[in-house]
């Protein structure tokens, strides 16, 4: 289970890239730092877009990151099947880049929410969730002020009818997301975006609420190694 290389992107204002790289390494893959200003994906097998406040969240969360030089390479590669996981700000960037439909808006409560959050895995067929059971309940940290998933009625109906909702909030919706949506995927299940943070839930030592985040990384590793 070695040899898989997972790129971890750093924009100005990214916060979670070190945890993301560590989670990739713990799963047995090689994390490869990718820099926003480079036109170079360094031949990675998959990409992790971590959370934070890229470009200070100026204009809209992810709106400026979407035009970073690296994204000129990442967007076509992702459309051609490169697996991409975006968490929190990474999810916002995927939506702004139109790699995933819909958008993330201000939490309905207007409060920044930071807590351990129950989540149900409702699609374990994506590249990033195959090591979960279908319907498995997990706990991951959430920490965001703009995580309310919205989409047009048509888009929402399509996501629901085609099984592209991947995660739903359990035990209280932290942000007012439509249909309690915590994460979604693209048509082929290669691109996944979610507001919760799997990279913060891989080690008991740091007081994480669970190690449920590990399965994201073992999922992609198995897919890459078996590909």
């Amino acid at each position: 289970m070695s040899g898989a290389r997972v790129g971890v992107v750093t924009f100005p204002g990214t916060l979670d890239d070190q945890d993301a790289a560590r989670a990739v390494r713990l799963a047995g893959a090689e994390p490869v730092p990718l820099w926003h200003a480079d036109h170079d994906l360094k031949g990675v097998d998959a990409v992790f877009l971590p959370g934070g406040f890229s470009y200070g969240d100026y204009l809209r969360c992810g709106a400026i990151s979407r035009f970073a030089p690296l994204m000129d390479e990442l967007i076509p590669a992702a459309r051609s099947g490169l697996p991409v996981l975006g968490t929190c700000n990474g999810f916002q960037i995927l939506c702004e880049a139109h790699l995933l439909p819909g958008a993330l808006t201000r939490n309905a409560s207007l409060h920044y929410v930071c807590r351990d959050q129950g989540i149900r895995v409702v699609n374990n067929r994506t590249a990033w969730t195959r090591d979960f059971e279908q319907g498995q309940d997990i706990v991951l940290p959430v920490k965001h002020g703009e995580g309310r998933y919205v989409a047009s009625d048509e888009t929402l109906a399509e996501l629901e009818s085609t099984g592209r909702v991947v995660f739903r909030y359990l035990g209280g919706n932290p942000n007012g997301s439509l249909n309690d949506i915590a994460g979604i995927t693209n048509e082929t299940g290669t691109i996944v975006g979610l507001m919760p943070h799997p990279e913060h839930a891989v080690e008991e030592l740091v007081g994480a609420p669970s190690t449920d985040g590990r399965a994201f990384f073992t999922s992609i590793l198995k897919k890459l190694v078996n590909a």
Binding site: A103, S109, L110, R148, V150, S152
Partner: protein, 81 residues
């Protein structure tokens, strides 16, 4: 030289909790008779040349590309003055 204004507003069907919070605050400050508030963004774009059709088409492209996320927001362009 011309100044072009781009107003960006959340689409009517998108919840605007910030606007709602402002609407709730106004009566506490003694302002009566406000039914609802929606909050948006205003961009003032200074053009080097005149605001002719070509320049306005460019501004609309800016709005579509960057200033607004048309998944959740509407925009309106007008020339000031």
């Amino acid at each position: 030289m011309a100044r072009v204004i781009v107003d960006v507003m959340l689409k009517p069907e998108i919840l605007d909790p910030q606007g709602q919070a402002i609407a709730r605050a106004l009566p506490r400050l003694g302002f009566e008779g406000v039914g609802a508030v929606r909050q948006g963004k205003r961009f003032e774009i200074e053009l080097d040349g005149p605001a002719d059709e070509a320049a306005l088409a460019d501004v609309r492209k800016m709005a579509e590309t960057l200033l607004a996320n048309t998944v959740i927001e509407d925009y309106a362009v007008h020339v000031e003055g």
